[in-house]
């Protein structure tokens, strides 16, 4: 499956902070075919550092998508049956408008003048994209981690426009621990002299800070067990360092090549600010109008997004007797499990989507 990234421009987007971005570009990819009654569309939402290239082999880079094992012909999200869409989030650096974009008002790069964005803003932009593709109602919205936050936001804000939702390894709000890790990442970037208050475009990138931020991130994505098995105390004879050090340095430097440091600041802040129940009495109240069918998945060794956070969502849904399936899959891979544990997830996603499709066709 060879794919290419497309782009759409929208005249404007009103943000939660009150600022209006105009215009706004969205980079997206699609897989499969939209059926005649436009009822088989699934929106996939990427995690913090992902992009629109979720599946297939990219025409230009020849690289596989970040969830290629889950999306494709015969896979969990079966592109022979469903029309799958994935877009880069607002604030991103992979084709969608973000702090690295040109501010049309000044003709200069936004950098730190980019307005504060929220998960809600990201979802409203996705809703524009979906509308522009002629889709009134999505068969499903799915995603892990920050993608799962967007799934929850979709279900809460557009209950009539999503038949089903699959939030994976996610939370209705960040805990102090999750905010703390994000803050370490942000401080690492801002402590890099090359960050220059965010005005590094065209000059030397704050690579050291961004790499350290990514290294911290990778630690939180793994588990004690997976790190022990993957690295143990083995050393790289050639470099005289532990393998885990070598791995983190490699991941850090690799990240600098594909991710914008300011996007890191804005997107992690959006995650920290996210609170599905904000301004409401309870999570149950937030989902009051929802008739969406849910499939909630968490993983045993995920200590960054522990199961109790998913279970909170599940409990809220059960309190209003909403249709919610929930499973805590056994995995040793920590938070990375949602990208790694393909077989189990495929099996349950397939069965869930078949049931949801039946329900949609009946009406």
């Amino acid at each position: 499956m060879v794919v290419s990234t497309q782009s759409k421009r929208f005249a404007s987007l009103e943000l939660d902070c009150g600022v209006t971005l105009a215009p706004v570009d969205v980079a997206y990819q699609t897989y499969g075919t939209l059926n005649a009654d436009r009822s088989n569309a699934i929106l996939i939402m990427h995690a913090f550092s992902g992009d629109a290239h979720a599946a297939g082999v990219d025409e230009q880079t020849q690289q596989k998508g970040w969830w290629d094992s889950m999306i494709g012909p015969g896979r969990g999200f079966d592109t022979d049956q469903y029309f799958v869409i994935c877009s880069n989030v607002l604030g991103g650096c992979r084709g969608t408008t973000g702090p690295g974009s040109i501010n049309p008002a000044t003709g200069e790069i936004f950098a730190m003048t980019f307005p504060v964005i929220t998960i809600g803003d990201m979802v409203r932009l996705q809703a524009k994209l979906i509308e522009s593709l002629g889709i009134e109602k999505l068969l499903s919205v799915a995603g892990g981690s920050m993608g799962g936050m967007q799934v929850l936001e979709w279900a809460a804000r557009y209950p009539d426009r999503v038949a089903s939702a699959i939030p994976i390894a996610t939370t209705p709000r960040h805990s102090a621990q999750q905010i703390a890790f994000n803050e370490v990442g942000r401080q690492a970037i801002m402590a890099d002299p090359d960050w220059s208050d965010g005005n590094y475009y065209g000059g030397k990138l704050p690579g050291r800070g961004l790499a350290v931020a990514r290294m911290v991130g990778h630690i939180t994505y793994m588990s004690d067990e997976s790190m022990r098995q993957k690295f143990g105390r083995r050393q790289r004879e050639d470099q005289g360092i532990f393998e885990v050090e070598s791995y983190l340095r490699y991941r850090g430097s690799q990240f600098v090549d594909r991710f914008d440091a300011n996007s890191y600041l804005y997107i992690t802040k959006a995650m920290d600010l996210f609170d599905l129940a904000a301004g409401q009495q309870s999570l149950t109240a937030v989902l009051e109008r929802s008739k969406t069918k849910f499939l909630v998945i968490s993983f045993t060794s995920d200590w960054l997004y522990p199961s109790y956070q998913s279970q909170e969502v599940v409990s809220a849904l059960r309190r209003r007797n909403q249709d919610v399936a929930y499973i805590e899959l056994t995995s040793k891979y920590g938070h990375d499990a949602f990208l790694v544990e393909v077989e189990e997830q495929s099996e349950i996603v397939k069965g869930f989507l078949v049931r949801v499709t039946k329900g949609v066709n009946r009406r």
Binding site: L295, R318, N321, D323, A325, Y326, G351, R355
Partner: protein, 209 residues
């Protein structure tokens, strides 16, 4: 076991289970059903396919939950005793508890919760008063082991050993209304002396007359 053949009009069997057959006869079409300890969801799947019910399940074992969801059953991985509190009153037409009552720490609490979240409770349990259990105990002088109670005492999931008469006495004390009771020996219906002759009891219970 029973000498009943497939031609016996009293033989009931659904998916190899006598109690499932009784459930399937009782559950009305297009209702909402919660199955506590639903295993891999085979009963719920059958009810969804054949009775068009809104089928929900609760199961502790992750591997079984995975199979149930893969089958298209809305299954929640969790503990029966903890999960019931979340549901609103009368959320379901039927709440099913099949062959699990004897394994639950607080059976009365669970039964009362079932009657709160469901309009009716459908309960099936193995009868510890069956003659084979009595004989095994009488003749061996040890914790009885039968085909229906196959476990050694030290690795049995069963923590309560009660009979049909015990259940009837509890129902009377709690003033539950028993709408229907069916007794089975294997898959054959038992009409006389159920406390002695039935291996399995199936009750359809509701709170008030």
């Amino acid at each position: 076991m029973t000498a009943a053949s497939n031609n016996d009009p009293f033989v009931r069997d659904l998916l190899g289970r006598g109690d499932y057959a009784i459930f399937s006869e009782i559950v009305a079409p297009q209702t909402c059903v919660l199955d506590l300890g639903c295993g891999d969801g085979e009963l719920l799947r059958w009810l969804a396919d054949n009775k068009d019910v809104d089928a929900r399940g609760v199961e502790m074992d992750g591997a079984k939950v995975q199979k149930a969801i893969a089958k298209g059953v809305s299954c929640y991985q969790g503990d029966i005793e903890e999960c019931l509190a979340d549901y609103p009153d009368h959320a379901f037409d039927y709440v099913i508890l099949s062959q699990t009552l004897q394994e639950i720490r607080q059976p009365l609490q669970v039964l009362n919760d079932m009657l709160r979240v469901g309009r009716r409770a459908l309960v099936a349990f193995p009868n510890f008063g069956h003659w084979r259990v009595r004989l095994a105990h009488l003749f061996t002088g040890r914790a009885p082991k039968t085909t229906r109670f196959p476990h050694d005492w030290f690795d049995s999931p069963n923590i309560h050993f009660f009979t049909i008469d015990d259940f009837e006495i509890l129902a009377a004390r709690e003033e539950w209304y028993i709408e229907k009771r069916v007794f089975l020996d294997g898959n054959r219906e038992v009409k006389m002396m159920p406390n002695l002759l039935a291996e399995t009891a199936v009750y359809l219970v509701r709170r008030n007359r």
